[in-house]
Symmetry: C2
């Protein structure tokens, strides 16, 4: 079900204790107008965050939280996605409405992000507060794998305390370790690394503050079962509802904007979910470079590049990365082939110079030879040692 209108009014139409999970991503207290155009510029979504002060913002949220509490079942939970400038006030509101004793956790959604050049730390996380209505809340335990450093052999062993209260491993009379029967894995942490919705992801519908579906799926799976009811009073582009549908949950969505409601309906008719290769395979799968290549890059102090065809790394001079792509000739590769690859990469992205490092060179160089630049602006290092001269030469060129 989807309702259009101010959620304070719309929530009043919902029965007491009829909802299992509420997820809220309320407007932020930024005192700015947000807007974003769709990719083809056909449509513009916007909303205003305007409150006279932080107290009125807190009140605005709090009176809506009261209604949320009313509609949540005794086994239900609420997740509040917070604005970083006002998260503390939102949590005070949650304490007021749901009581501090029902605080179940502070979830950190961490991601990598395009950087800006502001003074200070690069903001790369958001906070989601998790409160339950009662102590008897529904919670599906989720387990993850062990850290590679864990001594799994050992964690099966039972323990006892000695007279000082220190624990030791329990042994049977035979001297053998006493073992537990099974292990479930590591309980889900409250720090979630989920890639920020890529600006080009199919999932994107051009709505500001859109959240990744997997973030919502994770929340829904933790605290609801099939056919449970999920409510989002600020449903925006409808991510929560889409995630609920994909997981076989029922949903109620509310938003004040007619545009948002229409968008949500369109989205629900044809849900798209990006498959993040990064999440599926882990960061390591991108580390497909030969160990040898990486070692060479390290010795010449270049930074490795994992995903640009034809390029193995970029030049670094005194810890500053320069726009000079580097390729290391493969053993199985002819010089011309290597040049070709590199040249194409250089031209594609408009780099002025590029360096090719030969690893099977038979050419002898003397200390006095100057590095040569060929007609395609490639500098060819006859071996790794020859690279340092090239570095010096390049410094004067770029």
């Amino acid at each position: 079900m989807i309702f259009q209108g101010d959620c304070l009014l719309e929530l009043k139409k919902i029965d007491n204790e009829s909802v299992d999970l509420v997820y809220l991503d309320p407007p932020f207290f930024t005192q700015k107008k947000h807007s974003l155009k769709t990719r083809d510029n056909s449509r513009e979504y916007s909303f205003e965050d305007t409150w006279v002060n932080i107290e009125s913002y807190k009140n605005y949220i709090q009176e809506r939280l009261v209604e949320c509490k009313r509609v949540i079942k005794d086994t239900g939970s609420i997740f509040l996605h917070c604005d970083r400038t006002a998260s503390h006030y939102l949590r005070v509101a949650l304490d007021d409405v749901f009581s501090a004793s029902n605080f179940q956790g502070e979830i950190v959604w961490a991601y990598k992000r395009w950087s800006n050049s502001k003074k200070g730390l690069l903001n790369s996380h958001q906070i989601i507060y998790f409160y339950s209505k009662t102590a008897n809340f529904k919670f599906n335990k989720v387990f993850e794998g062990y850290s590679p450093t864990t001594n799994i052999d050992q964690i099966f062993q039972k323990r006892v305390r000695d007279e000082n209260g220190k624990t030791t491993y329990k042994r049977e009379q035979t001297g053998e370790y006493e073992l537990t029967k099974q292990k479930m894995g590591v309980p889900l942490s409250d720090v979630w690394e989920i890639p920020y919705l890529n600006p080009k992801a199919n999932e994107r519908v051009g709505y500001p503050t859109q959240k990744p579906i997997i973030l919502l799926e994770k929340i829904i799976e933790l605290t609801t079962n099939k056919d449970d009811v999920v409510l989002d009073p600020f449903c925006g582009s409808g991510t929560t509802l889409v995630a609920a549908t994909l997981l076989g949950r029922k949903y109620i969505g509310i938003d004040i904007s007619i545009d948002a409601i229409e968008l949500t309906k369109r989205r629900l008719a044809k849900p798209i979910k990006s498959h993040s290769l990064l999440l599926k395979n882990g960061k390591d799968s991108y580390l497909n470079q030969d160990k040898k290549i990486l070692e060479i890059l390290e010795t010449i102090e270049a930074i490795p590049v994992q995903r640009n065809r034809g390029i193995d790394g970029f030049l670094k001079i005194r810890n500053i990365v320069k726009p000079v792509p580097i390729r290391i000739q493969r053993e199985s590769e002819s010089l011309d082939n290597a040049k070709d690859f590199l040249l194409r990469a250089r031209k594609k992205s408009g780099f002025k110079f590029a360096v090719l490092i030969r690893t099977n060179s038979r050419v002898e160089e003397t200390l006095f030879d100057l590095p040569k630049i060929n007609e395609d602006n490639l500098l060819i290092a006859e071996g790794i040692e020859a690279f340092s001269k090239i570095k010096v030469r390049l410094e004067s060129l770029i």
Copy 2:
């Protein structure tokens, strides 16, 4: 300089605007007594966190923050290490004293930790608030490497906005991309993954809530230079002062406990810092399993083990890990050798059964053969397909 006493009084003895950085790790609002014995049971450190209510706790902190603000230079900063149950009130206090406009960031210290069996998410982060005294605060920019998934090729390209306000990459008249001259790397994120101070670390001094030195070093390096003054009004075991010393900063430490002061002095005389291999080399360095072995483990749904000799993985049945070690016979390895390795591992840790998977077996099995258990309680699977029968058999045995 180290002072013993309530920091509210001791702070009053410090001159106006004489400190560059304040780091506070005040007692938490846990309403409990915390204590920990040193490893040799020679000494016990403890403190109590008891306030009548959250308001009195907030006031307690706030009046100390006012003194902190007074002693901080105009270019100085303050970092407040927060309690999970009261962080929102602490931030309100910071807003009150330092003003919301001087909020510079919310740092997430994320770590992995031994778990416990609680309902809900495993708490594995702590929050540190970063406020400056004025907009003109000292900040040393720190850069990190690019993520392996970054398209480094592209970030050199300059951008312009088109008539619709969309950004596109800038091209020169020739059609070539226009490039920037250099890149520094990625600005330091506000999510810091630093291993929790390990129970076995030599750095540990037996004081409850002791923080890792590198956490403090990171903070000190961000906002101070050499010979600057670092102040910790709740210095506890003195980690902040140790970090300051190691980085050539001056320090002022205050603590109410005489024990803590003595410990701090001893520690400063002989600072010990654990060097974390995990941090230095990254988690990946522990992943030493063969790709082929990993693939086999994946097909039989076992969990891989990275650091136990003779064992490649553990049995998993319906997502539950069982105390049954598994080894996959290497190509270069005789059956007897493989058996030997596995048997030794089985006995060492007291496992009742173990499974060896042959990958070069010539033995033909029929569907009707029951898996055999040899005299050493090893079950030998003649190939990967044969494993499923063993799984069924084991389920009745364990």
